[in-house]
């Protein structure tokens, strides 16, 4: 068994990583079919020429950055408040948002927006998507921050208060720096979850807020497309680099 385990592990890692590696290999295949016909960057060139694709990628980034920023801020504050004194309602609803299947969350948000837009004269767009993304990222942020807060020595804050700091000052100067790595991790998590979301986004997106997953999904439904291989490789490479950088920063 001692030898079986590492062999199994290798197989398991191959299972996890090989499909993506194969996509990357075939993204530089000159042929559109599964026969290797030589190295070519034509699919990447086609990618860069596709206005719809580039615009959706830009939308995805904007939405992810905005949603991450707001979710991290709101989530950190909420986690701190919950740590001080729990609120069954908020904790319960955060838990519920984690458990709710994406399709249910999506259609309920759609129903809500359509109902409220009868009175507000707005329409589906970037703002509805960002709102939806904050909504499902919040629980993840709170979880990560609370996990870190559990190991926090509250006497540090009390010491600050004894020394004359205000409540907010104690939070800002003592607790927040302690939370910094968790905040970074939570932001990373929120960003990844936002940039990858399809189901909820597709339901609440409007005319001007088509995201990259929506474009990928439409292309995937049409079958295999070498341009999609190129997109996949770039996305995986991009996110992978981002994760590696954040890991390095965390350890710094």
């Amino acid at each position: 068994m001692k030898r079986a385990l590492p062999i199994y592990a290798v197989c398991a890692y191959l299972f996890l990583h090989l499909p993506l590696a194969i996509l990357a290999i075939f993204s530089v295949n000159a042929s559109r079919f599964t026969l290797w016909e030589g190295f070519s960057l034509r699919w990447y060139r086609a990618l860069l020429a596709d206005r719809d694709l580039l615009e959706s990628a830009a939308n995805s980034l904007v939405i992810a950055v905005a949603a991450t920023a707001l979710a991290t801020i709101m989530g950190t504050l909420a986690a701190y408040a919950l740590w001080k004194k729990t609120s069954a309602w908020l904790a319960g609803s955060l838990y519920l948002s984690l458990v709710t299947p994406e399709i249910v969350a999506g259609i309920s948000l759609l129903a809500f927006f359509q109902w409220i837009f009868r009175y507000l004269h707005l329409r589906l767009g970037m703002h509805t998507v960002i709102l939806a993304h904050i909504s499902f990222s919040l629980a993840y942020v709170v979880l990560v921050i609370m996990a870190r807060l559990r190991n926090f020595d509250v006497s540090l804050e009390e010491a600050a208060l004894d020394l004359g700091a205000t409540e907010f000052g104690a939070f800002y100067r003592v607790t927040l720096p302690y939370l910094a790595p968790a905040i970074a991790a939570a932001a990373m998590l929120a960003f990844t979850v936002s940039i990858d979301d399809y189901v909820i986004t597709s339901l609440v997106a409007g005319v001007d807020s088509r995201t990259l997953p929506m474009v990928i999904y439409a292309m995937a439904r049409r079958g295999v497309n070498p341009v999609l291989n190129a997109v996949s490789t770039l996305v995986v490479a991009g996110l992978g680099t981002l994760i590696l950088i954040s890991e390095r920063l965390r350890k710094a």
Binding site: F33, D52, A58, V62, V65, A66, T68, A69, L70, T72, I73, Q114, F117, L122, R123, L124, G125, M126, P177, A180, A184, A187, G206, V207, D208, R210, A218, R221, R222, G223, V224, N225, L249, A252
Partner: protein
């Protein structure tokens, strides 16, 4: 660590105003939001219009009328121009979602083929302008023996796992109704249930329910027989001329026409009309047909086409073939509900 956190905070707080700036920029300038079927314009059609009219066009695509309707139904979707099929024009109009078309703003209206000047679904062309038409038939691999000629051939167990049907209740039930010898637009519950039973019998043989998405899969050889629109078939055959063929089924088939319509929620009526007029221009319509291989409702454009396209039997079949076809008619509410329910039940089985 302090510096990094400080930097991170700066970036985050700067991100939101930056994002709003980008958003604001994207929405500036006169624009037009067009929602069309996929692969229904030439690669340069939109760009040329943008240059000529000085407008920015947001061009979105959909794969089914239902997809378009789901967005448009709210009355608040953000789209200006949509391309409903003939049997959806009436319902959209009845729901108050369409804006009337002003013919005086369409100098090229005369280019329309005579057959489409007074279509049954909109005799005065008050709400829609016919764009492209076609039929639903069978797209298949030529090396299949025997070659499919009728809807019944799509129930052949030997082809199991390599058949696809359209992801559309009206189309699938239409084929089943025709197979059983009934009318496409039957509202008889007995006939509809029989058709649904046929569809359910076929389901285990199917690979998937796909609309235009099936084109690449047929070209690649993954699918042997597909219920497909003539336009999808023509595009597929153009990509693989010696391997694929299209048949108009013997029992009869559905004919459809896609029309251009302006949504009532749109505040850009003038720009929308300019777009419609642009599409009616014979050279533009002809160039679209050259890439998309559709059958155009534009008579003048038809005259500009090369003979190879004009005589294409897939797009422009002989009159005796066309006579076997039947136009889709809008359904009564009761019939619509029954069809929707049968579709859900059939798909869930």
């Amino acid at each position: 660590m302090n510096r990094r956190r400080f930097l991170a905070r700066i970036v985050k707080t700067a991100a939101i105003p930056a994002a709003s700036a980008i958003l604001a920029n994207c929405n500036s300038g006169p624009r037009l939001n067009v929602y069309n079927w996929s692969d229904y314009v030439a690669p340069d059609t939109v760009a040329n219009f943008e240059r000529e009219a000085g407008l920015r066009v947001r061009y979105g695509t959909y794969e089914s009328n239902q997809e378009m309707l789901a967005q448009v139904l709210s009355g608040n979707s953000g789209w200006d121009v949509v391309f409903p099929s003939a049997d959806f024009v009436g319902p959209l109009r009845d729901l108050g979602l369409l804006a009337p078309i002003r013919h005086e703003w369409l100098p090229n209206l005369g280019a329309l083929d005579a057959a489409f000047r007074h279509p049954p679904w909109d005799p005065d062309l008050r709400w829609s302008i016919p764009y492209m038409y076609g039929a639903t038939g069978i797209l298949y691999q030529r090396n299949l023996m025997p070659q499919p000629r009728a809807w019944a051939d799509l129930w052949d167990p030997r082809l199991g796992g390599k058949i696809t049907m359209l992801e559309d209740a009206t189309e699938v039930f239409g084929a089943c109704l025709k197979k059983l010898g009934y009318s496409l637009n039957s509202a008889e519950p007995g006939e509809l249930r029989a058709a649904a039973a046929e569809a359910e019998r076929q389901k285990p043989l199917l690979r998937a329910y796909l609309n235009a998405e099936v084109r690449d899969q047929v070209v690649a050889g993954d699918v042997a027989v597909a219920q497909a629109w003539a336009v999808t078939a023509a595009q597929a055959i153009a990509a693989a001329p010696d391997r694929l063929a299209f048949a108009y089924p013997d029992e009869g088939f559905a004919r459809f026409a896609d029309n251009i319509a302006i949504l009532r929620e749109s505040h850009r009526a003038e720009a929308a009309h300019r777009w419609i007029d642009y599409l009616l221009r014979p050279p533009v319509a002809a160039s679209i047909v050259q890439t998309t291989r559709t059958a155009t409702c534009n008579g003048a454009a038809y005259g500009l086409l090369p003979a190879s396209l004009r005589d294409d039997p897939v797009l422009y079949p002989a009159p005796d073939v066309l006579n076997r076809g039947e136009w889709f008619a809008p359904q009564s509410t009761a019939s619509q509900r029954l069809r929707d329910r049968l579709w859900t039940e059939m798909k869930s089985s």
